[in-house]
């Protein structure tokens, strides 16, 4: 019972505003959950006709989108999933050692003043839009790397994955994987660096005091500490590479097979690039099919990212 009714009123008003503000904040949080649910829901709804519609038109859409190379959904999405995982996996394979090296260089080899500059450079690499990497890959890298791939296939052609004939121009899986490796390098590097520089200082100094060389110190005290972080960083990079569209779309000459011959032309295509390439010309049934493949991609990246988070969470606990 306040003496001044006026004060009670302002107090009540403040309380009301307080409650509204809290509701807004909670609502925003819930909206994020809803947004993700909506993504799944709308994708499923739009992809529905690809599974339930009239069987004839379904098959027709698959045949027309795959150029007659597949007649069932699994037959259509299978090579695409294979191509996506192949290219992203190769990109990770190429990017991983380099980004580990850069992270170690920034954290343990470069002088401190230089290392902040280097981190900025890596961030810049991350900032360049993917369409520009695509343009660069298609117009600069492809003409310049054809010779190298040819050399590789002449000297290492006895290994099946390098066997010729080399695609000319080199719009092959190998070139795309190289460009994707450049694109995922920054994310792997920055996450790895953040983990590695947290390695316990005392253990490093103990290792050095026992006479370990710098590399031995890193191998004994830094890398074991950062192992789970490094793994989850590469998973994040893999997730990026799986979903990358433009660079693949602009560089790769698409194919539709389960081939591991990286240097040959027209062997594989990724889900994301396939959607972007065929979307403009697809009819309603075709769009449903493409959205269904997008859903498959969504699930794959979801699993990869979820695993990455699980690994970091476990390491943090």
């Amino acid at each position: 019972m306040s003496e001044k009714p006026n004060e009670t009123a302002t107090l009540n008003k403040a309380k009301r505003v307080d409650r509204i503000f809290k509701a807004c904040a909670t609502g925003a949080g819930i909206l994020i959950l809803l947004a993700l649910a909506a993504v799944t829901l709308f994708l499923i709804l739009r992809a529905f006709p690809a599974f339930t519609g009239d069987a004839d038109s379904r098959t027709h859409a698959i045949i027309s989108l795959s150029g007659g190379r597949a007649s069932s959904f699994l037959g259509y999405v299978g090579p695409l999933v294979f191509g996506t995982i192949l290219i992203a996996g190769l990109a990770l394979l190429l990017a991983f050692p380099v980004s580990l090296g850069i992270a170690l260089f920034i954290g343990y080899y470069a002088p401190i003043r230089l290392s902040t500059l280097l981190s900025t450079v890596i961030d810049l690499l991350a900032a360049v839009p993917s369409v520009i990497y695509g343009l660069w890959g298609a117009l600069v890298l492809v003409p310049n790397i054809t010779g190298f791939w040819r050399w590789l296939s002449v000297h290492l052609g006895w290994i099946p994955i390098f066997s010729g004939p080399v695609a000319a121009p080199a719009r092959s899986v190998a070139t795309v994987a190289l460009v994707l490796a450049v694109m995922i390098l920054p994310i792997i590097t920055s996450v790895t660096r953040d983990i590695l520089i947290q390695a316990p200082r005392l253990q490093q100094e103990a290792a050095l005091a026992l006479g370990a060389t710098k590399w031995e110190m890193i191998r004994l005290a830094v890398l074991p500490f950062g192992r789970s972080g490094i793994i989850s960083a590469s998973m994040l990079g893999l997730g990026r590479a799986l979903g990358e569209t433009m660079a693949v779309l602009m560089i790769l000459s698409p194919g539709f097979s389960y081939s591991l011959r990286l240097l040959q032309a027209s062997k594989s295509q990724t889900i994301a690039a396939n959607i972007a390439a065929q979307f403009p010309e697809a009819d309603s049934q075709g769009v449903a099919l493409l959205v269904a493949t997008g859903l498959v991609l969504f699930i794959i990246t979801f699993i990869v990212n979820y695993l990455a988070r699980r690994i970091t969470a476990k390491a943090g606990a």
């Binding site: 450079v121 993917s130 369409v131 433009m246 959205v291 991609l297 969504f298």
Partner: protein, 325 residues
């Protein structure tokens, strides 16, 4: 009983003395790894320098005032337009600005408020954990899937085949949201608890404490994080290709009609290949005009992205909390 030290084992310490060759091998390995690690950095620099240099050298060629002030309407093949240019990116710049602005309007309030919820209200509850997990998951959504989502949503809610700027904004906001939430969350978490407690002790309500003290203190960090998020989505191509389409003329209306953005313009020019300059063509006809336009637009895009990055870094450096005081 004799003490242990009396008959302690005689250790042949020389046995553990490293041989010269093993020391040398270890040193060699150390040096090899140093070289490899240094080399890996140089390897990473090659593409960066090459990308920047090529876009600069090839982009400058076509980057004229005419290019920046005209759209692509009335441009035929490789022929010059009556104004003396070869078409331009005005419509794409307008489209990029509008669509990006639209995505900011959607994602910044939602993102900042969710961060407020996570830091100020939730205190690690079950809902908060779910939200954090979903934000992480969201940051991994492939951009093309975001585009498909926006397209599907507008197709089902508005009508089939709806392609407009707003759909692009929705797609981009989905990609931007995780970054905004993450950085805001980090920035709110470093606001000292003393400030909150001081405000509560003075009888300030929670809402006012948050808006005028916590958010105020965290503002530079949030702004800089948001700018970096914008820099990330401004270069997105795939979702806009699907959700916003492509058009040669300027479309100032975010809510209806197709809308070109800079990255989509770059892709579209690239995908056209060589222009046809037949026997009856204008003497100024250029067969590689598409690539020239693509590089020039790419240069503009890179400049925008780099400027935004610089701005974001400057904001966080100049207004950083607790560094100068």
């Amino acid at each position: 009983m004799a003490s242990r030290t009396d008959r302690g084992p005689v250790i042949d310490f020389d046995r553990f003395r490293p041989t010269r060759s093993s020391i040398r091998a270890r040193k060699r390995k150390d040096r090899l790894m140093t070289v490899l690690i240094g080399l890996s950095f140089l390897v990473a620099l090659i593409p960066l320098v090459s990308v920047l240099w090529v876009s600069l050298s090839k982009g400058v060629q076509r980057l004229t005032p005419d290019f920046l002030t005209h759209n692509m309407s009335g441009v035929v093949g490789g022929n010059p337009t009556p104004t003396g240019g070869y078409g331009g990116i005005l419509h794409a710049v307008i489209g990029t600005l509008e669509i990006t602005f639209g995505s900011m309007v959607i994602s910044i309030p939602v993102g900042v408020m969710s961060a407020v919820y996570l830091v100020e209200y939730a205190h690690g509850g079950r809902l908060a954990k779910a939200i954090s997990l979903m934000v992480d998951v969201m940051s991994g959504i492939p951009s093309i899937v975001a585009g498909l989502f926006a397209f599907s949503m507008f197709a089902l809610v508005v009508g089939p085949g709806t392609v407009n700027g707003l759909a692009g904004s929705v797609a981009l906001s989905l990609l931007m949201l995780p970054t905004v939430v993450k950085t805001s969350e980090d920035m709110l978490a470093v606001v000292p608890n003393d400030l909150r407690e001081a405000a509560y002790a003075l009888g300030v309500t929670k809402q006012r404490t948050i808006t005028s003290i916590v958010l105020r203190t965290a503002l530079p960090g949030i702004v800089s994080g948001t700018i970096l998020a914008v820099a990330r989505v401004i270069g997105e191509t795939a979702p806009l290709l699907i959700a916003s389409g492509f058009i040669a003329t300027t479309n100032p209306n975010l809510f209806s009609g197709r809308m070109t953005t800079l990255p989509v313009f770059v892709y579209n020019e690239y995908s056209q290949g060589l222009a046809v300059c037949g026997p009856g063509a204008d003497p100024g006809c250029l067969t590689d005009i598409h690539m020239q336009r693509a590089w020039a637009a790419a240069l503009v895009l890179i400049l925008i992205v780099l400027l935004l990055n610089l701005l974001g870094r400057l904001v966080s450096r100049i207004f950083a909390v607790g560094r100068t005081r």
